[in-house]
């Protein structure tokens, strides 16, 4: 049980922390993920994986199944080699944390109380605020720069501040593996970068293994070690950002004509969508 925030959980290894085997997930009678024989995915320790893909491709569904928020129809999710559905949920919660898309907090809940909820898997009903909890929560707040809001109700914060608080809560949970479902939705660009910088620091300084669903391809390329591009519930391609974000995959996966250049800031691929307007303008020249 790792609750220590101060030491990185891992060095550089190639150990698989999270794996899906023949995963098929769906709602009602429709399979959203793995309709063609199941989805296999390995998440290696200490890496940041970004799952990308067009709307409705099943990327959030995959993430939720990996976080045992959804039960698969077929196949399994393995956490450190053990079937996640056979492990006590509370035990899983000490290793794997999840930040759902658009999480809700009741009105009146103050920031410190919300972040302290992250300690839930480490607590019992008679031990709800141990000295350990207090230290970890204080550190989680300081780490995301939200200590100054500790006494304020969550609804009084801006969207960007709120998202940092939610990340503090995930941090206070002290898990090696962190699953984030579109952590940058509803944020302006500056705050998107802010949140992703935080994720990057988590990974670099704390050795956290991160899997996140992202919409912005260029930010995904910048912040992830590995991209997983999904279409129609299967993995269309995966690998280093430069291998995945090509003009060809943009066409095949997103149905988008695009030019891919090198990002002058980060050296990662930069996708420039062409769109009909510019395609028509370009046509006479070519």
């Amino acid at each position: 049980m790792s609750t220590d925030l101060t030491t990185p959980a891992v060095g550089r290894t190639t150990r698989t922390r999270l794996r899906t085997e023949g995963l098929q997930v769906g709602y009602d009678d429709r399979l959203v993920v793995g309709a063609d024989g199941g989805l296999d995915l390995d998440v290696v320790e200490g890496t940041v994986t970004a799952v990308i893909g067009p709307n409705g491709c099943g990327k959030s569904t995959l993430l939720r199944a990996m976080a045992r928020l959804l039960a698969p129809r077929h196949g399994h999710v393995l956490l450190d080699g053990e079937r996640i559905d056979r492990m006590p949920s509370k035990q899983v919660a000490t290793v794997l944390g999840v930040l759902p898309q658009d999480p809700v907090a009741p009105e009146g809940l103050v920031v410190a109380d919300l972040v302290a909820r992250g300690r839930h898997p480490h607590q019992r009903w008679f031990r709800q605020w141990s000295p350990d909890d207090e230290v970890v929560v204080a550190e989680a707040l300081a780490w995301t720069g939200t200590s100054e809001f500790a006494d304020r109700p969550l609804e009084t914060l801006s969207g960007g501040q709120r998202q940092r608080v939610w990340i503090s809560m995930a941090l206070a949970q002290g898990t090696d593996v962190l699953l984030l479902d579109e952590p940058t939705t509803f944020l302006d660009l500056a705050h998107q970068v802010d949140v992703l910088d935080l994720v990057e620091r988590l990974h670099r300084e704390r050795g956290r293994t991160v899997v996140m669903v992202l919409h912005d391809l260029n930010l995904a390329a910048r912040y992830a070690d590995r991209l997983v591009a999904m279409r129609d519930g299967r993995i269309a391609c995966s690998g280093a950002p430069a291998d995945v974000l090509t003009e060809e995959t943009m066409r095949e996966v997103f149905g988008l004509e695009a030019k891919v250049v090198t990002d002058p800031v980060s050296g990662t691929p930069l996708v420039l969508p062409i769109g009909r307007r510019h395609r028509e303008r370009d046509d006479p020249d070519s």
Binding site: V92, P103, D113, H120, F126, R127, Q128, W129, A150, D151
Partner: protein
């Protein structure tokens, strides 16, 4: 090195291995409610054909006082007031649990069908038994509460079963609850119309929620349920703190959401059903009290102990008002409806304005 927690919101409370968060405001509110409760009870015990001063009542409760007065207080009047205390506490606690688990201030066991289900069965037990010629049974001190208890549990089980679809959605629970309640009210009305005048008259008093002529037989079940329910609820409250964040976050924190929610709803239903069985349907207590206490105590969900004390205070105070201002015959439930209905409208209006459900 760890930075100090610069928040005053979470001071630690510690007693041996037990740790928790020290919330002075919530504790202060609970203490004030408890003191007021004792005073209102003492005033209520002193009132009657033979008035006894408050100081004398308190002396009797502490074991002293005149023996004739003591007989009047402990044997004749205490059951009524204690029934009010326990019934109110059960309703307040039940409401606090329901609202926290459904994450909606409009939720309460009243609305989840418990109260109207209990009423239907109680009325049916009187009217149908009488109608079948089993003597003029009327409101029996034993049969009616048992019927009411069964009715409350059946209605709640029905609501739960109909609202359950791969998990329990708070809003659907509320809608189904309102539907079942309405059906129960219609059937109750039908039974009343088809009953003879004498039966209907007796049942109507019960249906308004009354503490009149309570004996120790009514006190004991309510007391036992509160004595078991309160610690159970405090244990469950730990899970509530995760459930508050929505199903997905709670699952992520390792809570088995459906089981935890079923446990909380189950305790809330039993509390409300027993309370209704003991005193008839005293409406709005479970709805109003937790929301008022939430505003007084601060925080994100109604306080459990505070709501129990507040519920007891409201019911005993309403009984006192009913007896003093409106006359002995007026049931306590009438007063709580008068207080509760405007408050429900206020909540509805406020909620519609914020455009959230």
């Amino acid at each position: 090195m760890t930075p100090p927690l610069t928040t005053t919101a979470r001071r630690r409370f510690r007693a041996g291995p037990v740790t928790g968060v020290w919330r002075p405001r919530a504790v202060l509110v609970a203490v004030v409610a408890a003191v007021l409760l004792v005073l209102v009870c003492a005033v209520n015990l002193g009132r009657g054909d033979f008035p006894i001063p408050v100081v004398e009542v308190i002396r009797i409760l502490l074991g002293g006082g005149d023996s004739a007065d003591a007989y009047i207080v402990t044997e004749l009047r205490l059951p009524r007031t204690l029934t009010g205390v326990f019934v109110g506490a059960a309703l307040g606690l039940s409401g606090a649990l329901t609202q926290a688990v459904v994450r909606n201030p409009l939720a309460s066991p009243d609305i989840l069908g418990v109260t109207d289900g209990a009423s239907l069965f109680a009325v049916a037990s009187v009217v149908l038994a009488g109608g079948a010629g089993v003597s003029g049974l009327a409101v029996s001190p034993v049969g009616t509460p048992i019927a009411a208890l069964a009715g409350g549990l059946v209605a709640a089980a029905l609501v739960y079963a109909l609202a359950y679809r791969k998990g329990l959605d708070g809003f659907r629970l509320l809608l189904v609850g309102i539907g079942i309640s309405s059906a129960a009210v219609s059937l109750t009305t039908y039974l009343l119309v088809s009953a003879n005048v004498q039966q209907a008259g007796q049942v109507l008093t019960w249906l308004r929620g009354s503490l009149a002529s309570r004996s120790w037989e009514n006190v004991v079940p309510a007391g036992v349920v509160v004595a078991i329910g309160l610690p159970l609820a405090i244990g469950l409250a730990f899970r509530l703190s995760a459930l508050e964040l929505g199903d997905e976050s709670a699952r992520g924190l390792g809570v088995r959401v459906d089981r935890a929610r079923a446990g909380v709803v189950g305790v809330a239903v039993v509390l409300a059903a027993v309370a209704t069985a003991c005193a008839g349907p005293i409406r709005f207590v479970a709805l109003v009290v937790p929301q008022i206490l939430l505003r007084l105590s601060g925080g994100s969900r109604p306080p459990l102990v505070g709501s129990a004390l507040g519920g007891a205070l409201l019911v005993v105070a309403a009984d006192l008002v009913a007896r003093t201002v409106l006359g002995e015959a007026v049931p306590v439930g009438v007063v709580t409806v008068v207080v509760g209905a405007p408050y429900l409208i206020y909540l509805l209006v406020r909620r519609t304005r914020r455009r959230t459900v």
